[in-house]
Amino acid sequence: MKIAHYLFGFALAIAVLFSCERDFQAPPLTEPAYTGDEANMTIAKLKTLYANITDPVLIDVDYILRAIVIGNDISGNIYKQIYIQDETGGINMGVDQNSIFTEFRVGQEIYVRLKGLYMVMYGEQLQIGYGQTNANRIPWEIFNFYVHKNKWPQAKNSVPKTIKLSQLDQSMVNTLVKLENVYFVDGGKLPFSESDATTNRILKDGDGNSIIVRNSNYANFAADILPEGGGTLIAILSKYRADWQLLIRSIEDCQQFGQPIPGSGGSTPADPGVTTYYSETFGTADVSARPLIADYTGFDNKNVTYSDASGAVSLRTTSTFNTPHLWFPANRDGYLTIEGIDTSAGADETLVLNYELAANLFDAGSEMNLNAMAVTVDGTAMDVPSQMVSNANGDNNKVYAISLRGIPAKNNLKIEFHGKASDNKFGLRLDNISITTASDDVIVIRPK
């Protein structure tokens, strides 16, 4: 009987021990509050200060910006970037992190302590980034060190400015804009993006002014069909070199489409500027396995064929070239043969073939001529410009843009690039091939 008592007591003790459920209290949600020094810099002024840089430059003054987040990666259309704006202008910041939007919503007020970050020139536009990192993105914890949230986010903090396509100016770069009475040229027909590569779509207004809307194939709306008819588009107005581009933040940025197409009353479209008949960027697929041309399926163009008789050319990315390009190994013949290009629509125009080349001059003392890459168009050898490049001049993997005139307008055009074993001493990288109408100032070769 005594034993039964013991047992009972023991059972009771254990029951007491275990009866308290292990329940966690929700942490208090403290509204973020920035307590540091007030802002002493504006985005416009910052851009003026660093207007002439080429390489990333360390910001070594205690500048502090106060800005509002206007764009993030919520839909996947923007990747590893946030766009911020103050009263004077907008700028983007490269951040090495996914799903930044979970912490930096549109309408979030932030303070950026700039000292220690870098100003970076990309596509001839300034952005805030970091030195010696992949794509000059700011490592995440370093970003957290310099960027401080203030208050809870409020969408109404970011109000787009209504503008017209005919009135774009440099001060609007990377700001949030609203375009009324515009339409997608392929509205109702094509998706926002092709499934395998970032795709440019054309948006026009009633006056025939047009602009690129750049859509990532990773955006969650990439497969949606472009809205039909006229409507209002909210977007970040960005610029790459001389090209104006719009970036949609999420599908909610397309508003009230389905109206009659503006300007369809009969006015003729204005000159669209340079027209592109063929463009190949080699996509954005994962090429970590370094596929050969024959094995690669991520080309932008599906209706032309790509081949390489040598089997030596492979697709690669490097920290400088972070989307796929072609690698022509040193001292070997390598080919890129493109067949089936249709340029017949450009029959009345002067067409040029554009491509980008970089030589792998990694070792000190290495030098070679970029004309090691020969070009044949429909069996005719083209006159490629001579350009010596050397490690000593800082040409290691420096990109040169080359444009060749005299491209025929026809169906089934064949173009062949040939990296010559005899001249390609150190390896060549080939990227961004396009056939466009010639602008007035075609430069045959220039550093990019």
């Binding site: 966690f24 942490p27 996947g76 799903s99 709306f221």
Partner: protein, 913 residues
């Protein structure tokens, strides 16, 4: 046809039946208290007979050959004792009371240096489990009984076998589950007094309750009438996952009215154990009844050991070095100032066994049992939807990822090393997850970005076993049985904690990116699309496995003066089927409803021979061949979401043999063994999370061949009654011997059914030392016990990832002499395909104990064991390669490791009444 054959064999081999023989009997008592000792295995070695003492301590051998023989007594908490007997040609030898010495301590087998939960180190994300051999019952084999305890801390597996080849029975009913094939040791946790006695079969030797298995069998005897009258209370303190344990048990023994009752209650606790963030709360109970009527004994036993515990995780060496702790646990973090573990296991396995023993005649017994087992098993884990990876040791959050930028590298190193403060990044940041969900409530959809899910793997199992033991003649024993088993496994996940979010949208986060705009494919359940789920709701996946099996077997043992032999055979039918409860958007046609039934018919044959050079020297050999149906868990390419499986699923084949020399001199006893086992056509599946594809990748292998071969040695030298010495060791090689085919499928549906050869030939099986030994010095005087062991271990390899052994990973990489050779890439190829071998070494263990007998025949005992007394913290006991491959960064996805705890103490005090 077969029956006639048996009969013929019986007739030929059993003459002369029942010639002149003798009986041997005795009674086993505690050397001091003179209380009878029940449940002890008694072996009459020369006659090859075994029996158990009853609850009065008595044993009896009938019809044995006269002459000199050796009686061996073997039990967990007693010194094993041998004595030579001279058996008369006829009549009865009554040995009277045989006194044996109790040793202090507990059921060593289950409180070995790693407890039963750590035995199965499982990583749900990887689908790997690195189980250890666990022995509940004390073996009579000198090698096995030492290895089972001493080697388990090194995650040693007997002969390198998977745990599914170790069979566990309770009261004659099989308790290896049919899903993963293993016994759930957690179900008998903290019930050590109840699981003390039983019957061990070493490897594939003949057994009295089952056909057996190459990894050995144990039958835990939990019948109430099997326990001696009396009680025991135990308190233990330790520095393991729990720090306190308490147990009380009491048994009545078989009373005059034919009833026996036995009960035990216990518990283990820690708010935080030796490893940070790991807590432990467990209670256990057992209750048994037995009634004896004439020749029938009917018993019922029910027990359970509910537990809630925080889990340890493995990490990469970079992290261990940064925090300066090889037992770093990435699973926990502070929430509102309190430590919270993201991976909490809640399990409860109530079990009931009803059994019946019918002594049909003096020589024939029929044992039947029905077991029922319901397991509620759930493990929580973080999940996240379109948010940054919250795991602190994700590779992008480590300094090495930022190597190209010195400032970033230094800053990350600083943040990791400080390990405290607001910007600490070395643990899970719960507060940040709550904040992200809160912001999403204000300015977003309100659907959880971060949440805790509980992955459930519940099991309901019923088993029936019936075994007939009989003697066909004095020299021939026949054991035959049938088994039936039915299992239902329910696998699904539920919302455990939304961390402040309003709800969760039940779509696949991985498919969302790869099928943008595709409203169908992303659905987890097309029957209920875009469903909002709340805490407690089932989401993600939900399916059942149904497994049924039936088997019939026999084995026959013959003993003669110079030769013993046995043979046996088993026929087994099994079938399994998956049933989906959700129609998955990636597999709309193969996910919902009942799938194909897979059927298997398997057979097994075994035989063995013992040649008795003399009563003290034996040569034995065993050989077996069997086919084994694949485990349902290994067959499907992605069982959570589809019924798809490889086309030609077949049973694995196992060929096993060993040759032993066993000797038993007055001062020197031991065994030397050569063994070889070949596995053909095994199946396995591994998984990993591919962060750039944002999906789980499943890699299902079939046709895997393996070879396990080696040497075992166990020797005990008894200098005198005070000192004796053990030398135990094994060296072996366990390796893959072919290049099987593997099927890769992504759970987001992007890739499905891509088949490719996996180059695995000559890679070693990982996770267990292939060379292992110990030298033990044991001292006993005046009920003081001391022992010291030096353990040596080596040749332990990392568990290879089959995904790294595909040729397609390395296309474009040339060997040194070829055109286009790239040294970096070639080195990457070599790094990624190399199998790491862990450093070997040695450790020291010490044990000390004492028993005091009180005047009322009660006793108090204490014992303290200290393992790894040199406090070595750099001993890798296991690890696995990550599946992801990137030849540009060969060291980015490094292996994850498990380390042995440093100094490890277990103090035990018990009072026996």
């Amino acid at each position: 046809m077969k029956q006639k054959l048996w009969l013929w064999i019986f007739l030929c081999s059993s003459f002369p039946a029942f010639a002149q023989t003798a009986d041997v009997k005795g009674r086993l008592v505690d050397a001091v208290s003179e209380n009878p000792i029940a449940g002890v295995l008694v072996i009459l070695r020369g006659n090859n007979q075994t029996t158990y003492t009853d609850d009065n301590g008595q044993f009896l051998f009938r019809d044995v050959d006269g002459g000199e023989d050796v009686l061996v007594f073997n039990a967990a908490d007693f010194h094993s004792t041998e004595e030579t007997v001279i058996i008369p040609v006829s009549g009865t030898l009554d040995r009277g009371d045989i006194r044996i010495t109790r040793r202090p301590g507990d059921n060593f087998q289950l409180t070995a240096t790693i407890d039963e939960i750590q035995r199965a180190m499982e990583d749900d994300d990887v689908g790997l489990s690195q189980d250890v051999s666990a022995m509940v019952i004390f073996s009579n084999d000198i090698f096995l009984k030492n290895a089972g305890y001493q080697f388990s801390q090194f995650r040693y597996r007997m002969r390198g076998y998977q745990n599914r080849f170790e069979e566990r029975y309770i009261n004659g009913v099989n308790f290896n589950d049919q899903i993963r094939g293993v016994f759930n040791y957690a179900s008998v946790g903290a019930l050590n007094d109840m699981t003390r006695n039983g019957d061990v079969v070493n490897y594939f030797a003949p057994s009295a309750y089952s056909f057996g298995s190459i990894g050995g069998s144990e039958n835990i005897n939990m019948r109430a009438g099997n326990y001696t009258r009396g009680g025991k209370a135990t308190i233990s303190l330790t520095n393991r996952n729990y720090y306190a344990r308490a147990m009380v048990s009491y048994s009545t023994g078989m009373q005059d009215n034919g009833w026996a009752v036995s009960a035990s209650i216990g518990g283990r606790y820690s708010h935080e154990g030796n490893i940070e963030g790991v807590f432990y709360r467990n209670i256990s109970y057992a209750f048994g009844l037995e009634k004896e009527v004439n020749n029938h004994r009917i018993s019922f036993m029910t027990f359970g050991s509910p537990v809630e515990r925080g889990q340890q995780g493995s990490s990469v060496q970079e992290v261990y070095d940064l925090v300066g702790n090889n037992l770093y646990n990435p699973n926990w973090g502070y929430q509102n100032g309190k430590k919270r573990n993201a991976r909490v296991v809640k399990s409860y396995d109530p079990t009931g066994v009803l059994s019946h023993i019918w002594r049909i005649s003096e020589y024939t017994t029929l044992t039947s049992g029905v077991g029922m087992h319901h397991s509620r098993y759930g493990g929580t884990a973080l999940n996240w939807y379109n948010g940054p990876d919250p795991r602190p040791d994700y590779y992008r959050y480590l300094p090495s990822y930022h190597r190209e930028n010195q400032t970033a590298f230094d800053y990350y190193t600083y943040l990791w090393e400080k390990q405290c403060g607001k910007d600490n990044i070395s643990q899970v940041n719960w507060d940040k997850m709550w904040e992200a969900n809160h912001i999403n409530n204000i300015e977003g959809s309100g659907s959880a970005i971060y949440m805790v899910e509980e992955r459930r793997r519940d099991l309901f199992e019923m088993a029936l076993n019936s075994t007939l033991n009989t003697r066909l003649s004095q020299r021939v024993k026949l054991t035959a049985g049938i088994g039936l088993k039915n299992s239902l496994s329910k696998q699904f996940k539920t919302v455990d904690d939304l961390l402040g979010a309003q709800y969760l949208l039940d779509t696949d986060k991985f498919a969302e990116r790869d099928f943008p705009g595709d409203e169908q494919t992303v659905q987890n359940d097309l029957n209920r699309p875009d469903r909002r789920v709340y805490e407690g709701d089932v989401f993600g996946y939900d399916f059942r496995f149904r497994v049924n099996s039936a088997d019939i077997w026999f084995q026959q043992e013959h003993s003669y003066r110079y030769v013993d032999f046995y043979f046996g055979s088993r026929l087994k039918y099994s079938e399994f089927q998956r049933e989906g409860k959700m129609r998955n958007g990636r597999y709309p046609d193969s996910s919902f409803g009942k799938g194909k039934t897979h059927r298997f018919t398997d057979y097994a044959l075994k035989a063995g021979l013992t040649y008795k050079i003399s009563g003290r020297h034996f040569i034995t050999g065993n050989i077996s061949y069997q086919t084994v149906a694949p485990l349902v868990d290994n067959v499907y390419i992605s069982p959570r979401i589809t019924d798809q499986a490889p086309e030609n699923i077949q049973s694995m084949r196992v060929f096993s043999s060993d040759l032993n020399y066993v000797f038993s001199l007055p001062n020197l006893a031991g065994r030397v063994t050569l063994f070889n086992t070949n596995f053909y056509d095994d199946m396995m599946r591994s998984s990993y999370y591919h962060d750039s594809e944002r999906t789980f990748v499943n890699h299902q292998l079939s046709g895997v061949d393996k070879v396990h071969r080696g040497v075992e040695l166990g020797v005990n030298y008894k200098l005198n009654n005070t000192w004796n010495f053990d030398l135990i060791g094994s060296t072996a090689e366990y390796y893959y011997s072919n290049n099987p085919e593997g099927v890769i499928s992504y759970e987001n549906g992007k890739e499905s059914g891509k088949t490719e050869t996996v180059y695995m030939t000559d890679y070693y099986l990982g996770g267990t030392p292939q060379t292992m030994g110990t030298f033990g010095i044991n001292f006993f005087r005046n009920y003081w016990f001391l022992n010291l062991n030096i353990n040596g271990f080596g040749r332990n390899y990392v568990e290879i990832s089959p995904l790294r052994r595909l040729a397609s990973n390395y296309i474009g990489i040339m060997p040194p002499e070829a055109e286009g050779f790239d040294e970096d890439l070639y080195n990457a190829y070599r790094i990624l395909t190399h199998q790491e071998k862990f450093k070997g070494g040695y450790t020291l263990d010490l044990g000390i104990g004492k028993i005091w007998y009180l005047r009322n025949r009660h006793s108090v005992n204490f014992n303290l064991t200290v393992n790894n007394i040199l406090n070595r913290r750099d001993i890798r006991t296991g690890g696995y390669e990550q599946g992801r491959v990137n030849p540009d960064y060969p060291n980015r996805f490094n292996s994850k490791y498990y380390y042995m705890q440093g100094i490890n103490c277990f103090f035990n005090m018990s009072y026996r009444f």
